[in-house]
Symmetry: C2
Subunit: 246 residues, 2 copies
């Protein structure tokens, strides 16, 4: 990180404020800490997603359905191993990096255990979508090697396509299903936001990274709010794709 | 299958009896049926193994342990997809091929749900080992393309190595653990044999394939017994590797 000692060349008016790297050693250390927190929360998110999808696959009505959800679980595990290797490559103990996020992510899953196959599918689809949105939000704020990793994980989507078909078919067969699943989708999003806000409130460095770098002292609560709004809007579009009101 | 119409060229004394293919169309059809049954039981075995390992990973005391068992689960799922593709390539509906084995394999897992992390590890190790023995037993009796598949699955082992270390460490820390886990290993093997014998009794074509081709009318119960004996001996060796009496 030789850039940390580069003399200040004064304001660079060509750059937007959120793209101006702060070249003090403190800022470099804070960015590094934030990136590790980010990779930690993503890694723990992926391994718990693996675990829950594999669990929910047990409710599948057929072996084909079970295999489709299991394939999503396997993709999450492969993301987990990429993230874990990246953390280890940074000289960080992956388990330590994940530790701060065990409680909020476990709480999310505890509060959103699906009671049947369709609820499991909606959770898989919505969860996959929120995770992808989140990866997309942060990818731009990362150094090239971490950004490549996040984009790699992001590119590996499409596993959830079968969900749309299955949920729409279930609603066509019994329209009353739609009301129950719409409520379920709202509950999932509410829990996700409540846990995400808890993490944002507790992890200053991570939050600062998410809203556009660490150039601003502290971080921008309004920008975090806007990020959550964008993610909520994308969620609404996904619920509509499933044939559900959000 | 042009070989099915080849004229009988008389006894071939160079061949051992269990390597003499029976070139009647009936024998070819029976072999095909048996291979489909074999791939079906292996495929359903793999997807249930995935499911149970993922479930048992929830009991892991640390994220590293969880990831190690999850990696075993993912390997089983990848075997499942290979087997499913092979079945589809033979023009067979994979779900139909698996259907006869849903009951015995589900019963095996229902009767052997581990009550803690160590029991889960021993089950993973013992199950993985029995499955590998079984693959090894049948590989020699298959046509080249199916044999390549089975050998591919078989070569992808080594995921269970961490189990030996963990179980031995647990026994060193508390020697009383050994007695309980030894009993558990016996129960696992007993259940595995009882379900396998149930399958062997119900699926004549499959059993005939396992004991060395379909040249003999009916099949050789004594040879099935010897196969189970070999698998039991290998199990004893694995239990010893874990530091457990079998």
């Amino acid at each position: 990180m030789t850039e940390g000692t580069r003399p200040d060349t004064g304001p660079d008016t060509d750059r937007a404020p959120d793209q101006t790297p702060d070249h003090t050693p403190e800022a470099a250390a804070a960015t590094q800490a934030a990136v590790i927190e980010l990779l930690g929360v993503l890694a723990y998110g992926e391994i718990t997603a693996f675990e829950r999808l594999a669990e929910d696959a047990k409710m599948a009505p057929s072996v084909d359905d079970k295999a489709a959800l299991a394939a999503m679980a396997v993709a999450e595990f492969q993301h987990f191993t990429l993230l874990r290797e990246h953390l280890a490559g940074l000289g960080v103990d992956p388990a330590e990096a994940m530790a701060p996020f065990v409680k909020p992510l476990d709480a999310f899953h505890r509060h959103t255990a699906p009671s049947d196959w369709l609820e499991g599918l909606v959770k898989a689809y919505v969860g996959d979508g929120i995770a992808a949105d989140f990866y997309r939000e942060v990818a731009g704020h990362l150094a090239p090697d971490s950004r490549t990793l996040v984009e790699e994980v992001l590119a590996d989507t499409g596993h959830a396509d079968f969900v749309v078909e299955t949920v729409r078919a279930a609603i066509a067969a019994d329209p009353r299903v739609a009301g129950r699943l719409a409520l379920w989708g709202r509950r999932l999003m509410g829990e996700a936001l409540s846990q995400a806000q808890r993490v944002a409130a507790e992890r200053d460095a991570l939050s600062a990274l998410l809203v556009g770098g660490l150039t601003v002292p502290g971080f921008d609560l309004a920008e975090i709010g806007r990020m959550f709004t964008r993610i909520t809007e994308a969620h609404t579009a996904r619920m509509a794709a499933l044939g559900l009101a959000s």
